[in-house]
């Protein structure tokens, strides 16, 4: 186990560059990436976070996240899906979560080294999700699955009741990941724009490491495909830009959902 103070958390929606960012951060000496620990397979997740698609903040979430970010035994070694610790951390853990958006208020107030939130354009993210078949892999698309989110953010009730089809539902879950962002003190986490990291990785990486008071380790190649990109062979970073792949109507529907959820601020 490593000290909680050294831990780093990376939060973002599915297909928004969380693995890429976490892998680069985990190249700091003594660090190892913890890949998607919020999965029902882990006992402490079932016990403290339940089986919600996007678990919400609760007093018990703190305990679960502490166990994850200190590299507790149950997270050591990876499962077939890649979940778990990639390597042996001696100094700290870089936790990478696509399911922790609603836990951001808890995460960013924990005494850890830093929390990063990575945001990618919702149209590009949804398009990429469709390409890898996320809509067929169990993303819930009914109002019941979002009931706990509505209870926490009543202003989205109308928007959720209007959702139709996979494109809009995936956009809605993108929104759920970032709902807490405009409601938290911006100094509690570092907000990273995926597109900037793709366009100017060298400038952005210096700022990224400076945000946790670390020097950028040598040998980081931001152009290298991440673990996930390799798995979904054929998709290169930035290739799933939507201009040529999505209809204008689909894009407008996604942007309308983002606007209904009150997250226009996050758009470029």
């Amino acid at each position: 186990m490593t000290p909680l103070e050294n831990a780093i958390a990376v939060v973002g929606n599915h297909r928004c560059g969380t693995t890429w960012l976490a892998q680069m951060l985990a190249q700091m000496p003594g660090y190892a990436m913890l890949f998607e620990p919020i999965r029902p397979g882990y006992p402490c997740v079932a016990e403290h976070l339940g089986d919600a698609w996007r678990p919400g903040p609760s007093p018990r979430a703190h305990e679960a996240l502490t166990r994850m970010l200190t590299g507790a035994e149950e997270f050591q070694g990876t499962t077939r899906s890649g979940a778990g610790l990639h390597g042996v951390p001696t100094i700290g853990v870089v936790g990478k979560f696509v399911r922790a958006g609603r836990l951001l208020p808890v995460l960013c107030r924990m005494p850890i080294r830093g929390t990063y939130v990575i945001v990618r354009d919702p149209c590009d993210a949804v398009n990429s999700q469709l390409r890898v078949g996320a809509h067929e892999k169990g993303t819930p698309m009914d109002i019941k699955a979002m009931a706990h989110v509505i209870a926490e953010h009543p202003h989205i009730r109308g928007a959720v009741s209007r959702l139709e089809g996979a494109v809009e539902w995936l956009a809605a879950w993108w929104c759920v990941t970032y709902l807490a962002v405009p409601r938290l003190d911006p100094s509690l986490f570092t907000l990273v724009r995926y597109e900037r990291l793709v366009a100017a990785p060298d400038d952005e990486l210096d700022l990224l490491f400076a945000a946790v008071g670390a020097e950028r380790p040598r040998g980081i190649d931001p152009r290298r495909p991440s673990l996930r990109a390799k798995e979904w062979a054929g998709i290169r970073r930035g290739q799933t830009r939507t201009e040529h792949l999505m209809s204008g109507r689909q894009r407008r529907r996604i942007l309308r959902v983002v606007s209904d959820f009150g997250l226009d601020q996050l758009l470029e």
């Binding site: 903040p57 609760s58 007093p59 979430a61 703190h62 208020p105 808890v106 107030r109 945001v119 926490e152 953010h153 009543p154 202003h155 807490a180 962002v181 405009p182 409601r183 938290l184 003190d185 911006p186 570092t190 907000l191 990273v192 724009r193 900037r196 100017a200 400038d203 952005e204 700022l207 990224l208 945000a211 009150g262 601020q265 996050l266």
Partner: protein
Amino acid sequence: MYRPLAPQRRRPVRFLGEVSAQPSPWPVLIGGGLVLGLGLGLVAYMGTRTAQMRTRSRRLRRWG
């Protein structure tokens, strides 16, 4: 520790490497001040030049 979110409260978001949403007013103020100052200086200078020329021509007319 867990603290519930204030649902109504919204803050401007700030991305890494981007300038803050409200840019500093100082560059505009300093630039504006410079332009105004130089403009006024030029007008004042031209004014004194005109006055000088008038005095000079009057003196020449009167005294040769």
